[in-house]
Subunit: 347 residues, 4 copies
């Protein structure tokens, strides 16, 4: 079985494991206050060209999202998200479990617009008395989105302006941030994000680490006491060094970007082949997740050799499915898939 | 100013106040364990033809909703509601504040259907692994809805069947239950509800009481320990007698139904007059809330003498607004409104 | 049965009921924005000699406590309380249900000291890294306490200084504030509280109202958006007028203080008689709650005619019990109790 | 610097790292449903002689505690713990953050007794009306405790009986379970725990793993839907394989017990030397944490070469401190410490 169903089915880049081996018996203090974490934080600040940001290293994406939101929101405040946002549908209500509503807005290709947020706030919060509704306080975006699409600089700047207008924080879920930044369709880089968002995280789990997400807090208002919230929500790893080691390796010599580019190139190779076969897509994704629409016959045949994830039934006979590449995907695996697709499609 | 903007702008029916006066210095024990509450509970059980139901008397509707849901849901479960449901939009996220997601479904005229709930559950919970999503456990309906519409026996029976299929509790918000039951369009009565829902509440605040909602718990699974949840959520009134007195008066000699019929008749008189004037409606409401669409000119003129609530802008020049009647509305007030409308409309 | 077991077993002072009757059909807007609430707020601001404080009228004490604390605390912060504090033991964990720890300190006679709070903070928060513990942010006191004792101005000023030192809010639960202020042992008045606490509430339920507690928010940091928290927690009464009417009557012509003095005088009469009979006390209470230690024989005989509440078994043969007077207690009731006690004690 | 301040300052046993390397590019499905996790679960079931228990693998101890308790408790229920319990003091109120009170009982040497729990329940829950208090539902113990002490089989059986009497769940925090079981003072083993507790966890983080705690759920009532709670609380690791690999290595060929015995032997060597030097102890700990009371002079001198954790100031001039050994401690490190202690003590 060759797995394309997600981008977290292998371990980690060998350099990370090697560094763990090399440092295994070095004694450090715990909870992220060790020298490996310090190095990782400094490297991320440097990559962001933002020495003043706070960087916290957490274990997983759901944890990072609800922990950040628990810290950012007062009890009567909520977070605006696309209705397809990961926090809205795939985190078992973890945000609500911390007491906060996810205010879901309709999406197009996994994205919401600044105009939508502005309209929502205008409709509900433009005159005096709104205390019967949840006050929106954070806008949550994913870069890239659940559907592989990306926000551009222009779109994020518009969203920033609307957030300033309504006193909202802008938070970007970067579980696949590297894969987004590797795309030609995405002109965003880390320094831009650090100038534009109030907080964002740089995903490690799907991007070459065993696990780990680096939360970057830009806004001074969000910095104080964050480690309390981290501990309270189970996000303060005893052997924090493991996160420090991983992120310092990922950001040493540009490995993070190199791995992202690798995954991206293979996804584009697959996409080009599908386009050539005239396969339609659920959405035109410029990143490492591809959502072709194929016949049940083809998919059933493919599933004997490949795994992919089910996205949506289109009609009797066709389904949209998801193929992901990752830092660990081998070109031969993609070539085999393309070749089998060609054979099955009679192309 | 004659107020039609809501149905809770006066005090209480005089019989209730008189009974409070008469019993004022009677000493009772607190927290709803007094003889007045016992009487009210017995009268409600009798009206429901269901001696086995538990009845709890709470102060307000929001409190009743979140307290019941906090008791009914485990931490990973949520409640399905129309996207216009009171818990979804007008309770400042009180359900989320207790840790639970409101799963909002699209509505038509304020209602959701059994088929929608079935489809949602089928789509997300028909095969093995759903633990990344909030598990639906309660279906929340309002009788009547925020838009004045009603669920019929047939609709509630279908919803019951779907709830049984997916092991969901059916809960009915009856803030305006009397007004619903007074409508020709609604064939539901209390015994039917007590046979069909797992829990529901009989609204007092909008229906003749100073305050108070009578929560009826039908399902045995929901009965144990409810008073703990009541106390924890601030819903256990020290002088519970005040609730007992009000509900025993409302259910003595059918006062509750009489007051509901009064409000209904006046709403229908207003509706008939509007129809006669060819006024369109946002929704065809058969209950005490009416949503005519009128011109800004007419509404601005009306607003000097009458209050009503803003519902929705329809276009440049027209708005849908809400007029409510209640147990306290006087026929002369409705007649004055109709007369002024006729004059302003040139009808 | 003559009831001394608590101070909330009658209805309300007749002037309150009369005013409700007189205004019953006056139409007002809801949710505390009516003219009765405005008047009550202004009267309380005046009584506090503090026109700048915010005043919110809630229904009950538990609700007031957890709503205020939910608004005042961030998710990682907690509230310091005497281990006997009402929030620590008698509110079914309502503070914890909003996500916050009650940090319970040992008490003497129901009270904690400034020195204790200082020591706790010094021990746990005097050096750099405390993020594994709940950060204390509010000190909760009751005036009078669960054991009838009072805090003096000097004690509250010391607590204020410690709160300033550690950046804590000082919050006073005044469910029995009038009864405390009526005592010779208590030199606190409303203007002093409004200068010293960050927030406090003036109890109505136990002090002449049907229900209602007036929360006074002094600190500017605690004022914004409080009505959202009020609504979210079920504390925004639809017919807020009922609270406005009650508090404006209580503060008109000093009724609140008059009723408090009445209860106090009767408690002192009972206490003096008990002292004369050489009855020991669990605690020397200078307020409306008295805690004599009596023999089981005497208590069993008394219980045929009087109700009182059980406080604590002292030894085989003796129990401490609680007798409360209130605004509604009649002198004849106290005289009867004293006379029966004398007879049973053979005094 | 030689570190004795805690038992989680190195990486993992080399066999674990080697297995991670060997399997690094094996593709697996995520979220703990892979074959490595299946193997680990089976090995733990076998070690517990309990094929029917559920085993879930989580990342950290705080996370395991609050996730389990969130699943086990209804909203009005709480957990009984020693006042020194980890959940009571060192987890930043994470249990309260999920809405539940930690009911703290006084401890002796870090332990609470069955008699204490029985008395607490008897005092507060033996007659009819307790709904003003949090209902206790879980008893939380640590094996070994924060002070290094252990519960014996006899003590746990007594606690089990009291739990049965009051319908409480018995939950054992086993962050240092191996170290406890390695002690002569502790006659508990895994099969005994699986027969006696309703749930417990087998600590990995402090016992040879990079991270990871294996939660064993014995009681059928606690099994359903646990993975929802796991996901909601951020405890479902995307690459769950990492947990599976670690626990299967730890339980292969008895490595877990071997590492525990190693740490224990070194702790006993240190303890024996301290006893020989007539050093008093804060508590007589039979496990890997030792709490000697030493002079400031000695400790200041030691601190230049060794790290230890501060436990408690005893008087002017003496402090109790904590030295931990672990699976990674080398005998030479302990020998050096003993030798330096002897020199500094003039022994």
């Amino acid at each position: 079985m060759i797995r394309f169903n997600c981008d977290y089915q292998e371990g980690a880049h060998p350099r990370i494991l090697q560094k763990m081996l090399d440092t295994n018996l070095v004694q450090t203090i715990g909870y992220g206050e060790d020298e490996f974490c310090a190095e990782a934080r400094a490297m991320i600040q440097k990559a962001c060209e933002a020495p003043e940001v706070d960087v916290h290293l957490l274990v997983g994406g759901t944890q990072t999202n609800f922990t950040f939101l628990a810290a950012a929101l007062r009890c009567y405040q909520g977070v605006i998200s696309a209705e397809t946002g990961h926090i809205a549908v795939h985190e078992t209500g973890s945000v609500e479990a911390t007491g906060h509503k996810v205010i879901a807005l309709p999406q197009v290709n996994g994205k919401i617009t600044a105009a939508q947020v502005d309209e929502y706030c205008h409709l509900h919060f433009s005159d005096g008395s709104h205390e019967h509704m949840v006050m929106p306080k954070v806008v949550y975006l994913s870069e890239s989105t659940e559907l592989g699409t990306v926000y551009t600089r222009a779109e994020l700047q518009e969203m920033r302006a609307v957030c300033d207008k309504w006193k909202l924080y802008l938070y970007v879920d970067g579980a696949r941030l590297g894969y987004a930044m590797a795309s030609d369709a995405c002109d965003v880089d880390l320094p831009f994000l650090a100038r534009t968002a109030d907080a964002f995280y740089i995903g490690g789990t799907k991007q070459g680490a065993l696990f780990g997400e680096a939360l970057v807090i830009v806004s001074d208002a969000l910095k104080p006491d964050f480690r309390y919230v981290l501990k309270q929500n189970g996000g303060m790893l005893a052997k924090g060094r493991l996160l420090g080691i991983q992120f310092s390796e990922l950001f040493r010599d540009g490995l993070y970007f190199e791995l992202s580019a690798h995954a991206h190139a293979l996804a584009m190779k697959l996409k080009a082949a599908l386009v050539e076969m005239n396969v339609p897509f659920l959405v035109d994704s410029p990143t490492n997740q591809q959502f072709p629409i194929l016949t049940d016959t083809v998919l059933d045949a493919l599933s004997e050799k490949y795994s992919f994830s089910e996205q949506q039934r289109m009609d009797e006979g066709h389904r949209a499915v998801r193929f992901c590449t990752s830092w660990a995907t081998q070109e031969a695996q993609v070539d085999a898939l393309i070749s089998d697709l060609r054979r099955l499609m009679g192309a």
